[in-house]
Symmetry: C2
Subunit: 695 residues, 2 copies
């Protein structure tokens, strides 16, 4: 929270703001006493000649060397600067210099004081050394650190915005003994520098600063929780004591400058025209208590006597925003598909292998020794990414679910340029709604004029009106909302036993309209289909035909069951409630939504009735470009073909999508999940850059 009162922005020579009060520094003129100071090009020194005037002084005159300019404010009545000027209480001398000094104290300005009769009463001389100082970042977001961007000390969203960007260094350069790079306070490999934001200190001036002056980099205690700064070793081997002490690992090459432990540290002044390179490392993602913005300051300190703190006489500030974690919707191109291999899912794996191979993507299998029988690849983790103008990489969000798959994200995914983030919660606060089948993201949408070019995150919770109910845990919700660029939508999913939004909704790409369709499970659509079958004489066709261990049921029987109908009416109401929210929050029309014929049944779960899919839940699909991997529904056969598959194909065909039905009945459906629950897809990032969002 500590602010930097001394912050000034040095004007570039093109944008001369030297007269502006924000660049002024008060300095003193002392009669008969050699004064000296260091001047920073782009600022103004303000000296009040009457403040230290000798007693009886009525007039003064000013002289200076070539490199020094001055004006009087307010300007004197006289037209000639050579004639002594009357002293007036609050009139100040504004002093500036247009270029860096070649040597220490190579410039000066002097003020001579005169009495009533123009007799000389004394003279104050101020010796000056001019330096140029600029702490620079990539504030224009083109991947290159430009020189003294006038906007570098603030951050603005949008294509006409500005402000540098920082990545959380959440990958691990080490492949074996892993550790998040952000958890170690040294640079372990040169490749790690790529994950950090470059920052350059540009200085110009004499070979060295006058005695006692020094440069210090500093940040606030709050910001130090979120960022660390390294630098390249200075060419001067004798540079600083701290540097010598920290000599293990690669610290020799990249000394740590700022961290949680060190909020302020001297950095060497290199002399002449020089650039020193720094690397800024993000340590944590935006969250409820962190808006993502951090500042780094570089100050020039003026020496004072022993035992007194040095005075900052110039401060340059740069601002970074930590890149948010971004999710990838079904409409983005897949890169890799992940599934688990278990002792009983050979059939499913075979189906997935065919689908993924046919689609031309990589299939990655998590083997049983690692998944320990936990097949719910969707639920343990969510793939996303972080991005900046200089670099980006995928980042897995590890769920607090922590099933037997819990080690997979860290052990198998984390690595060089593959990041990892998690939020941990107390066991008692974690419910089934914390599995990431309950965390999805829409394709890009525009809602009543507001653009969401990265889509919107979708989670499922209990009704806000419910006096009890399950929820996604607070820490994960807060993390998701804090990322800001995919403003979340909360749906009602607590009506399901498992409680995941992916049990009733999915998105598929479409060539027309908004570029996608929302698919919703619909008992009404299922009843309509089955009534049509009955009418057309297929009432005796059986669901679950050919499956073992499952009670088969005819279309007629199904349609006669009033209790079952009433349960599905309830389910349709729940889904319709979500449909209204999705229409409103994603700006969808009814034409953007496709109802899929799916039935549910209610079961008592801890004295509450909750729903689960009656036959394989076709909406719980995997979307790989134009190929859909859909749970094989085992619906009634009509003329040798499953009527549910036929309906599904007919609904998807118009969008140019191809349906592959995968048998997940025994190994997933009976365990209350389907294809989507049992798989995960890492996708390419959006082409749209998050910092171009208008917020």
């Amino acid at each position: 929270m500590q602010r930097t009162p001394g912050t000034t922005v040095p004007a570039s020579l093109e944008r001369d703001r030297r007269g502006a009060p924000e660049c002024q520094r008060t300095c003193r003129l002392v009669v008969e006493n050699r004064q000296m100071t260091v001047y920073v090009v782009g600022t103004t020194l303000s000296a009040n000649p009457s403040r230290s005037a000798p007693p009886g002084a009525k007039f003064f005159s000013v002289k200076c060397t070539d490199n020094v300019q001055y004006t009087l404010n307010p300007p004197p009545q006289e037209t000639s600067h050579l004639a002594p000027i009357p002293l007036r209480g609050n009139s100040v001398l504004l002093i500036s210099m247009s270029r860096a000094s070649q040597s220490e104290n190579d410039s000066k300005i002097s003020v001579q004081y005169y009495g009533n009769n123009k007799e000389v009463l004394g003279k104050a001389v101020l010796h000056l050394t001019a330096v140029e100082i600029s702490l620079d970042v990539d504030a224009d977001r083109d991947g290159v650190v430009e020189k003294n961007n006038p906007n570098k000390s603030s951050w603005k969203w949008g294509p006409t915005g500005h402000g540098a960007i920082l990545l959380v260094n959440c990958d691990s350069e080490q492949t074996y003994v892993k550790k998040l790079d952000s958890e170690q306070d040294y640079v372990s490999k040169a490749s790690d520098l790529q994950d950090m934001s470059p920052m350059v200190l540009r200085t110009k001036g004499p070979a060295k600063l006058p005695k006692g002056y020094k440069l210090t980099m500093h940040m606030s205690q709050g910001d130090a929780e979120s960022v660390r700064v390294f630098r390249t070793k200075s060419p001067d081997v004798n540079s600083s004591m701290a540097e010598k002490v920290l000599s293990k690992y690669f610290l020799r090459d990249y000394p740590l400058v700022l961290s949680r432990e060190v909020l302020s540290q001297e950095v060497p002044y290199l002399g002449g025209e020089a650039e020193m390179r720094f690397y800024v490392e993000g340590l944590r993602f935006p969250d409820k208590d962190f808006n993502g913005l951090i500042s780094i300051n570089l100050s020039l300190l003026e020496p004072v006597n022993e035992g007194l703190p040095e005075t900052p006489i110039f401060t340059d500030k740069v601002v970074f925003r930590v890149a948010p974690w971004i999710m990838t919707p079904n409409t983005l191109k897949p890169v890799e598909v992940f599934v688990c291999s278990t002792s009983d899912n050979y059939q499913f794996l075979k189906g997935m292998r065919n689908l993924v191979g046919m689609s031309g993507y990589k299939l990655k299998i998590c083997h049983e020794y690692e998944n320990r029988g936990d097949r719910w690849m969707q639920d343990e983790l969510e793939f996303g990414y972080i991005d900046s103008p200089h670099h980006g990489f995928p980042v897995v969000l590890d769920s607090p679910r922590d099933g037997d798959l819990m080690d997979f994200p860290y052990n198998d995914l984390l690595g060089p340029d593959f990041g990892y983030v998690t939020r941990t919660a107390q066991r008692k606060d974690v419910s089934s709604l914390d599995s990431f089948g309950n965390l999805e993201v829409s394709p890009p949408v525009t809602v009543r004029g507001k653009h969401y070019p990265l889509g919107r995150i979708i989670i499922g919770v209990a009704f806000p009106t419910a006096t009890k109910g399950r929820n996604m845990t607070k820490v994960v919700q807060e993390f998701l909302w804090a990322q800001k660029v995919q403003e979340p939508i909360a749906l009602f999913s607590d009506w399901l036993i498992v409680g995941h939004v992916d049990e009733f909704m999915s998105f598929v790409p479409a060539p027309d309209r908004k570029g996608f369709r929302l698919l919703l499970a619909s008992p009404d659509a299922a009843y309509k289909l089955f009534r049509g079958l009955q009418r057309d004489g297929h009432g005796k066709a059986k669901l679950f035909d050919g499956l073992n261990d499952v009670q088969q049921i005819t279309v007629n029987e199904l349609l006669e069951d009033e209790q079952f109908q009433s349960e599905n009416d309830y389910v349709q109401n729940c889904i319709d409630w979500n449909r209204d929210v999705l229409k409103r929050e994603l700006g969808l029309d009814d034409e953007d939504i496709i109802d899929l014929p799916i039935l549910f049944k209610l079961e008592e779960d801890k004295q509450v009735h909750r729903a689960v899919a009656f036959y394989p839940d076709m909406v719980n699909m995997i979307v790989l470009g134009k190929n859909l991997g859909i749970p094989k529904p085992f619906g009634p056969r009509v003329n040798g073909r499953c009527a549910l598959e036929a309906e599904m194909c007919s609904l998807m065909e118009g969008l140019g999508l191809s349906c592959t039905f995968i048998d997940d009945f025994a190994s997933y459906h009976k365990l209350l999940g389907e294809v989507h629950c049992g798989s995960n897809v890492r996708r390419e990032p959006f082409a749209f850059k998050w910092w171009n969002l208008e917020m």
Copy 2:
């Protein structure tokens, strides 16, 4: 963090938004099965006729009672609504009603289905009961709860802004056994209602809602930390079970509706045209983790079967912002002056009594049995206030300093319409910089076009570049920044032993320019004055003349002491650094600043040299309108008059200010404080209303 996905804003009849997707609710048509629902005026029901059409249905027709309107979207090709309309997949019926029902199910809409040959295949009937529901607040900030303000569900700053305002109920209606009203979850006195924001639930409809429908008020878990809702008891004595249980104290009259423990509760539907009054109580001030905004929701729930959660079918939302705590600068009119009486401060008290009496304000004395010898009335507390369109009152901020005066703010100030707030920190984190002599506020300023009509808070800290140093504790800084309306400025005050900004700066009213002057202590001004005295032959005049126990010193001796001069050069540099910050952050010119002749000396304090005023620190004054109470400086006498007093008077005279010098030497100055440190002033609030700020 839990959002309200079901939130819709009912359109007022003047602003018809019924067609807009945000007001649509999907409802089902079921053939041969009596359906009923409750409709909320201002919304739209959306029903898809083809979804539940009987098999073979190709056409449909629609009929409805008088009070019901419908349209088809997209509109049918046919021109007559009487002829059966072809069924099309995604075409929906948009149903609305323009006024509330007189009785349950008094309206209906029916859809008849036809086959290929227009033969009737079935009919779906939907019975409707229309109600008007509006949760209302004072969103236009005129002190009156208007009806269904279209902006009630958002909050916007500024004179053209909108959004209701909430006070933290931080006063105590009880005068004896005190407790903050916000700390008890019942209404102890009717007068307490005045500290809460009124909220009205307006309903219109039949005498009762159809069976199972009910109204529920709810808020999120996060918001429940900051707010509580009471209501007036409903006229219906049999209303709710909860109401009966909570019958102690005044709960009978004002039952608690929402609190940290109860996030959702049914509220009675009164029937006919009715208003139910609620009282919303703020529980905490904006802070680092609370932006001050909270929402309260009112939902209509539709019944479902036993064991299933009721579905919210309509939600109205209102938003409040908690009023910030606001400080009052020296330029506001005083109300009361507070000082301590101690065994040794008779002289000082006498001076203060005269000054305050002469100025026409109330002097309140904190007696020794209460102050236990702690005389630093400025340091233990800061007076401020909170304000809303309906009510406002003073609020004391109690410092974590917690000296022997620590009980005074709670015991003596807290009371009816006098609020109390504090921030507690660990003993080890509290330093002298946490005393509120280190917390001041500027008069209103405009800085490079940005208006601060309530001024800016000023605190003192260590240099941001310092590797060690004292600071104001984090919890207090976070509190101050979170109030937002007086954006704080951090000065450098750690150079002083005591470390308070009031040791080197003050504001006084002025008839010209910005309406005030900034007064700064200035060793340069003091040296200039003393050199003038020396030149004029007063070098032998003595400082501290007539005082016991103090080493007297002549002007000559003072001017000869080079060490002393060098210490004061350092002090001038420190003050000049702050001068530059104040010029920049308050938009001041040199003409807005007056340098007061004050000298300091350095003393070693825990191996660091820090400064303290050499003679009574005249800038540490009390400002009561045009009367200034200034520490009597005991400067050198010239022609019988203290030269420092004369200079001070001459500087203030031009502003129409009158100086009263108060002898605080023995009882304050020698203990490292002065008049300002030993007093406190409660002032009138700003005429400017904080919600009119442009943020």
